[in-house]
Amino acid sequence: MIAVVIVLAVDVMMLPKTYWQSEEVRFGQALLTFDPLQQQPEPPAYPLYVALGRVLNFFVHDPFFALLALSVISTVAGVVITALLATELFGDTWSGAAAALVLYLSPAMLIFGPLPNAEAVAMALIAAALLALVRGNAMWFGIFAAAAVGALPPIAVAMLVMAGVAPAISPAMRRVSAAVIGGATLLLCFVPLIEAIRGRVGYYVFTNYAALKTSSAAAGLDGRELVLRFIAHPWGSKWLSFPLLIAAVIGFAMLCGGRFLNRPSPVEKPASTLAAFAVAHLLFCFAVADRGDGVQPVIPSMIAVAMFAAAALSRWPRIAFAAALVYGAGAFVYAWPVLYDRHRVPSPPAAAMRYARQQLPADAMLLYEPSLEAWARSSRFSIAPIRDFDRYADQKIPLFVLGDGGSTMQHARIFFWPDSDAYGKVTTNRYRVVSLIPFPPPVRYRSLGGVYGFERTSDEEWRWLAGDAIVELPRLGTRVASVRLALPRDAPIDSNSVNINGSTVTVPRGGSISFSFPASSILRIHSARSFTSPRDRRTLAVQLLSLEQR
């Protein structure tokens, strides 16, 4: 009860003010138009989560509020069920409450739990499936396991592994009944999805898998960074995560390693099943999950770590509870910058779209960056992806770019939340800074070759140029064009000599340089040196920061 009150209070006090991540916007849109082929919701479509959201929206008539309510209800249910599960395993309610607190007060759950997304629902259903498994109830295990997959399809592999090694359903008939009822539940969840994608399952899976690989590659995380991201970061900074992970290892050893000391634990089988689930899901995430999604993909596996961490102190249940409270307080402080801003002010994308609604002309064209597509689609403006930037070089319509990151362009409006360690480590690290950038005709241009797409950090934007690039300027009757070029600090060359229509300038590493030259409809930009990017194999020479006719 205490755990429920604490978690509920924190959740309700820290509810987000607006949608924040694109997937949330897509979930909200899916409550009204379920169209997975148009990324409503984003793949893999989360059919049961959308269905539950639609049930609530029938009563509240506001998709955002309906999804928030669903998350809060699921969080409360999840805390209770997780506590019951731990109590069942450790035989003490204090230990049960400790496990629930560790899980639900972790930075990952504090940040992702109360959002309008599928995590809270899935965690409650996973806990319910585990509880049914521990209690040996095959029918309910089948229902909850399948429902969890329906709410969060990426856990399907881990759930299958768990079902495969689950000891509680070993008698043949019960295993069959769990499989039958689980299969029926899966059908109920996924047939509407198959109907919505008009039976094009292969196309849907293949195209979205290809998009996922592209996105993961762009995130650029690998090796040690990825291990830290998926195993340590969900639990907060190293001062929080390392003690907790050590406790989890001890707990795991106590529960599953007793047989090596000829003292097997009575809950060894359920504990090893839980571990199998977590390991399977982590391996799945390492292999497939979007590495740009922060710690969000691994959240389902956290239930096992929380259980094992509580197990470490299960001989002293009240101490376990106190330790969980201390950990929870630390995690709350760690996540506070994200939670506070999210609760207090609209998210940067929401603020940008609100500003656009109020200030931009009705006939404006909005070019969106891929991560902000859902936001752009929810607006009343004509929209196009930013890769179409070049098409609008000589059109008269007001042109704006909705950028996920900062901008140094004149008159750009920047919407941001302050940076924090939690934002960088726990979240996708997108949407913290969003820019609405006007592109009047003098700063537009068309690439005829050798100009890569826009890239952006929280401070600035650029387009990489290849060794030879050709740019066409719209005819505005101007005499002078000016350009700003840069070479980043981590470039493998110390400087580059760049020639534009006969004028030459040297761009030093770690610096930028502006220079003007007579305007001409075609700019031929030749760089003396170029290099191959190790990440994406592009041939790069120099960064184009801005180009303007005067």
Binding site: L32, F34, V191
Partner: protein, 562 residues
């Protein structure tokens, strides 16, 4: 559940006509639409005494009718099956069906008629009440006669005592006469009533039973009337299977009480498949849905008893599925004004008081109510009157999208439920300015504007077709002409004459619209279009289209510039 599905504003065509009927019962002016609905309007007038406006009165009445209807239906099903659980399960399945979740609180006649039909079924053993409620049902919604009359006669045929038959028939006749009198008076006498109702029957034969079935194959019609009211395949297919089990169970148990309901439902379905408009199919299927719900309840009880499963868990699962299905439509309808009303508010704000509203036919009642203080005309009538009056602003109040310059569109977001459960009108409504340079007078062969909900807009031209431009100096006329992708000929030559002089000949190709610019002389020139061939869609071999018009080419856009 009913509370949460109450609509915020009027939305459908008939709702607006019913709303206008309260206090002004005038069936000849389509207030209400044929066939007259005398009892429904009378009851609405009574509720109006306690409600702030006509719409609220009708919605409140239907809310109450649906609540009472549920109880009566459960009792009726219990009487027929002899089992309360069957009654409750059947009534729950019926009122949680997607079609009822959407329609049970609209300002329409269906919810009250269903409640009265449930009472008829419940009182089938009490001759006086049976006859009375049967007559009340028809007086409330005359279309239900197709269900009620077979039910009445079958029930009477199964009654062995002549006095009871006589009492039921007498009660039925007296009550029918009681509601026929005000209807007869309202239309101006018996002869006019016969003319009024027969003209409606004529419309039914010409429209619902013919043109409106364009593109519908027989299996699609069967699905429309029997499966769509139950939602998606994953809900409707199991439910219809369970209803089949219910039919088998009833036959095996030789339950004679089931016969009138079953035969009435089947006859109604047969009539619907042959004569009723499939666009309205889901709502028109409600009496058949009621019969199906009874058998589904029977089948569910049979199956859950046999396999020792919880009956109401399946009912709850079905109800949840229905809610998921209709949630988008119902939540938007509850939380926001309907697109016709929002568009009308926008139109009143955007256009001056002297602007003339040119409404498309589906928005006729909406224009009557929402633009009551403005001059309003059908599109072609308005063009005929004002095409040469540049001082009078015109705008089209259109059911669907428009890409015309300056047009404004309001919409509800699409959903599977909207397309399956409704007529698919009014989700997208546009306001389209008609500036002087886009106006013309139709002389011959230019049909009404047609538009897709979220796609193109066009006018079909016959061959020959003629239109006249307003007075003005010599100018250029830009047109977009073409043949749709589904068209019986690959190529059709088109010759355009200006004031009788051959100006241009084009080779129009299927699916490739082209832009044409012509110079026209000063004055009010007449453009004449002569196509190589025209066709009648209804006569195209193998086509399901019932459209009897002569069509040649599509005119997508026309505007003149100096």
């Amino acid at each position: 559940m009913l509370w949460f599905s109450i609509p915020a504003t009027p939305w459908e065509f008939d709702e607006l006509l019913f709303v206008q009927s309260l206090g002004h019962y005038d069936p000849i002016s389509h207030h209400p639409p044929p066939p007259g609905y005398p009892l429904f309007i009378a009851a609405g007038d009574f509720f109006r005494l306690f409600a702030p406006n006509n719409f609220t009165a009708l919605v409140a009445m239907n809310f109450l009718a649906s609540a009472i209807g549920f109880v009566l239906l459960a009792l009726a099903f219990r009487r027929i099956s002899g089992d309360l659980r069957t009654g409750v399960a059947g009534a729950l399945l019926f009122y949680f069906s997607p079609v009822m979740l959407v329609h049970s609180t609209l300002a329409m006649s269906d919810p009250g008629a269903v409640a009265l039909l449930a009472a008829t079924l419940y009182f089938a053993d009490q001759a006086l009440l049976f006859g009375t409620f049967a007559a009340l049902t028809i007086g409330w919604r005359p279309q239900f006669a197709i269900f009620v009359l077979p039910l009445l006669f079958l029930q009477l045929a199964m009654t062995r005592e002549w006095p009871r038959r006589a009492i039921a028939l007498a009660a039925f006749t007296v009550v029918c006469v009681l509601w026929l009198i005000p209807l007869t008076r309202a239309v101006g006498g018996l002869d006019r009533l016969i003319h009024f109702e027969s003209s409606q029957a004529g419309y039914l034969a010409a429209h619902d039973a013919a043109v409106s079935r364009s593109g519908w194959s027989t299996p699609q019609l069967a699905l429309r009337f029997s499966a769509h009211p139950w939602g998606t395949k994953i809900a409707s297919l199991p439910l219809l299977i369970v209803a089949g089990v219910g039919v088998v169970a009833a036959i095996r148990k030789r339950e004679l009480r089931v016969i009138p309901l079953a035969i009435a439902a089947l006859l109604y379905l047969g009539f619907a498949l042959r004569f009723l408009d499939p666009a309205d199919g889901v709502r028109y299927a409600i009496p058949f849905v009621l019969g199906t719900a009874f058998f589904a309840g029977t089948g569910l009880i049979e199956l859950t008893r046999r396999f020792n499963l919880p009956t109401y868990a399946f009912v709850a699962l079905f109800a949840a599925g229905s809610i998921v299905f209709v949630s988008s439509l119902v939540s938007q309808r509850r939380a926001t004004e309907s697109p016709p009303l929002r568009a009308a508010r926008l139109g009143r704000w955007l256009y001056p008081q002297n602007a003339v509203v040119l409404y498309e036919l589906p928005l006729w009642p909406h224009a009557q109510v929402f633009f009551a203080d403005r001059q309003r005309l059908r599109v072609n009538d308005g063009l005929a009157k004002y095409f040469d009056r540049p001082d009078v602003p015109l705008f089209i109040y259109a059911d669907g999208i428009s890409h015309a310059p300056g047009s404004r569109t309001v919409r509800w977001l699409p959903s599977d439920a909207y397309s399956k459960l409704t007529r698919n009108h009014y989700r997208v409504v546009s306001l389209i300015p008609v500036p002087p340079e886009s106006r013309f007078l139709i002389l011959r062969g230019v049909y009404l504007t047609e538009r897709e909900v979220e796609g193109e807009e066009w006018r079909w031209l016959d061959s020959p077709a003629e239109l006249q431009l307003p007075h003005g100096p010599a100018r250029m006329v830009a047109m977009r002409l073409g043949l749709p992708t589904i068209y019986p000929m690959a190529v059709n030559p088109l010759t355009i004459f200006v004031d009788g002089v051959k100006e241009r000949t084009l080779e129009l190709q299927r699916g490739k619209p082209i832009d044409v610019v012509l110079s026209v002389p000063a004055g009010s020139p007449v453009l004449r279009f002569e196509a190589g061939r025209a066709f009648v869609p209804a006569e195209v071999p193998g086509s399901l289209n019932r459209d009897p018009r002569h069509l040649a080419v599509k005119l997508y856009d026309l505007r003149s510039t100096l």
